[in-house]
């Protein structure tokens, strides 16, 4: 079994992960800079052209790239999946996690608890909707993928003055009810969940570095796992507050979790990859890709008819 870590930088945590993959029994574990990659489509096939590394020879690829690379990563995820190569992210994961508006819609679509929210383009349109909201509220504004503002609003008066003060053209405004409660930051690795509690001190949530490991209820575990999957991730950070999902990030803050949690997260990840790669379905797809695709097309046809 061979695994490739694909990222933009070979950090310490990447090196530790390579060691963990080797210790878990992978015959090869390598790192490759994502900027060395190109995708070329010609005739009826797509090639992953890289710096001499044959990506398609690997059984699994662990994506550790930033969300800003989604225009490149999304077609790559799709290609890897169609070749039967396991990744911890399903196609669509980068799109889902780089657009908060879409993430809220996806979580809500899967009947997961999300804060009462309203999403608009024109901030003036938000005031009347907010009448039925419970304060405080979080006001976030976006221009493209960039968050331009994130403010905690205590009263309708503050909301009015903020919406009035915006002069620039925005792409989206998200207004959410804010839970005045501790934040539970969960590292989700398949079915395993490790949590750190970040205290709410009445005016702000403490930094992750100050948080403490904590046990969470089975209900919270299920929510965290379902939230990660709703965002097409098998490995992710899920933030919960009062049982409500506030954010999903398709990565884990390894340095902080390493300090706080006794568990060896790289080892847990390596074992998760091992169990997923050993699964028969992916193997079959890798060995018989055309047969697999034909069977899938047939079944799609039957179900769509």
């Amino acid at each position: 079994m061979k695994v490739l870590i694909l990222g933009s930088k070979k950090t310490k945590s990447v090196s530790r992960q390579i060691e963990a993959f080797s210790a878990a029994g992978f015959s090869r574990a390598d790192f490759l800079n994502i900027y060395k990659f190109n995708l070329v489509s010609k005739g009826s096939k797509t090639e992953v052209v890289d710096d001499g590394v044959k990506v398609l020879d690997y059984d699994a690829v662990y994506i550790r790239a930033g969300l800003e690379l989604s225009p490149f990563v999304e077609p790559l995820l799709d290609e890897l999946r169609s070749r039967g190569i396991f990744t911890q992210l399903k196609p669509g994961a980068f799109y889902l996690n780089s657009n908060e508006a879409l993430q809220v819609a996806a979580l809500n679509g899967r009947k997961l608890p999300v804060a009462k929210s309203v999403l608009v383009v024109d901030p003036k349109g938000i005031r009347d909707s907010a009448e039925k909201f419970r304060y405080p509220l979080i006001f976030k504004s976006y221009v493209s993928q960039t968050k331009t503002q994130s403010i905690l609003i205590e009263s309708p008066r503050s909301l009015k003055s903020i919406t009035k003060s915006i002069k620039m053209d925005l792409d989206c405004v998200i207004l959410k009810e804010f839970e005045e409660a501790d934040l539970i930051q969960c590292a989700v690795i398949g079915a395993k969940i490790f949590a750190i509690r970040r205290r709410w001190n009445g005016s702000e949530i403490e930094r992750l570095e100050k948080g403490r490991p904590c046990a969470i209820s089975n209900r919270e575990k299920v929510i965290a796992m379902r939230a990660a999957l709703a965002c097409n991730c098998e490995i992710a950070t899920v933030k919960l507050s009062n049982g409500i999902v506030t954010e999903v990030v398709p990565d884990i803050n390894f340095p902080v979790f390493k300090q706080k949690i006794e568990e060896d997260l790289p080892k847990t990840i390596a074992l998760h990859f091992k169990s997923r790669v050993s699964g028969g379905k992916l193997r079959l797809r890798k060995v018989f890709p055309s047969l697999f695709d034909r069977a899938k097309q047939f079944l799609d046809g039957v179900f769509n008819a």
Partner: protein, 298 residues
């Protein structure tokens, strides 16, 4: 006949003449049409429910919703498409088709893997790797920024010197680029509108001195007979991307027709085709709404 509700969700920068034509045709079949520009809608999530509100009306309660969104609308647009997918309203496009067709290379990759003829294309992560691959393609090449539309962000590169300066500029603006082999020939291409199972073929001819055939860049258009080849490529592309309405742009190559790109929000070229395209679009949406209504009754 049941009273059916039809909504069009427009782009922030919608084209008034296209909307007018869709609304006119919509009124003929549906009686009433709600046109909601995306910057005037509100998406509300409460409990496990989603509401897409426009002037107090929940568009997710409608029978048909036709989002005509450009790549510029993606932040709220993607969320709107996701919410529509979770409702029972009929929509001829999907979130995935929006994401894929707004990514020029992704579209080509998907079609290529499904054995639909395409023009050789590639996607790069850095200017250095771009140079290497483009040189293998051979000049000239068409370099496209992923976020471009209506012929914008599309550059014909004829030599290495031009390529260097273009790659520098693109890198500076942190744009991802794809490149496509340039097919030499007339400055024309074929747009195949796919509306349900119907294909309407239109030849687009670029204005003199312009290598791009886009009508929005001063080109012209005329309806042409649909060949079996055009029909197959266009219908297969639309089916693969799960689109009830789209336009598939084709170019004549030495080995036959090949896809250049697929359009999520095709313009109806009213100057040349009148209301032909919008009438077909609305007719298709009305048939779908009737089908749904019949199914609901059963």
């Amino acid at each position: 006949m049941p009273k059916l509700r039809f909504a069009i969700i427009g782009s922030k920068h919608y084209k008034a003449s296209t909307v007018k034509s869709l609304v006119e045709e919509g009124k003929v079949l549906f009686g009433k049409v709600t046109f909601a520009p995306i910057d005037k809608v509100k998406l509300v999530f409460e409990g496990n429910q989603a509401k897409l509100l426009f002037k107090g009306l929940n568009l997710l309660d409608y029978d048909v919703c036709y989002p005509r969104l450009s790549s510029k609308d993606y932040v709220l647009g993607e969320a709107v498409l996701k919410a529509i997918a979770g409702s029972s309203v009929y929509c001829p496009v999907s979130l995935r088709s929006y994401q894929v067709t707004n990514h020029k290379y992704y579209t080509i990759k998907e079609l290529s893997n499904a054995k639909i003829p395409i023009v050789k294309s590639c996607l790069f992560t850095s200017p250095d790797s771009a140079k290497q691959i483009i040189n293998e393609f051979g000049m000239p090449v068409v370099v496209k920024t992923l976020s471009g539309f209506a012929g914008k962000g599309v550059i014909l590169v004829e030599n290495e010197k031009q390529l260097d300066s273009i790659l520098d500029a693109v890198h500076l603006f942190e744009e991802f680029i794809s490149a496509q082999k340039f097919v030499k020939g007339k400055n024309s291409d074929i747009r195949c509108y796919v509306i349900g199972k119907k294909v309407i073929a239109v030849k687009r001819i670029g204005k003199q001195g312009e290598w791009r055939a886009n009508v929005s860049r001063g080109g012209s258009a005329e309806e042409i007979p649909v060949t079996k080849e055009m029909e197959k490529i266009a219908l297969d592309s639309a089916k693969l991307l799960k689109m009830g309405i789209c336009a598939v742009d084709l170019i004549e190559t030495s080995s036959g027709l090949a896809v250049i790109e697929v359009n999520f929000m095709p313009g109806p070229f009213q100057k040349y085709l009148g209301n032909l395209i919008t009438r077909e679009m609305v007719g298709f949406l009305h048939r779908k709404a009737l089908e749904r209504a019949r199914q609901d009754k059963q």
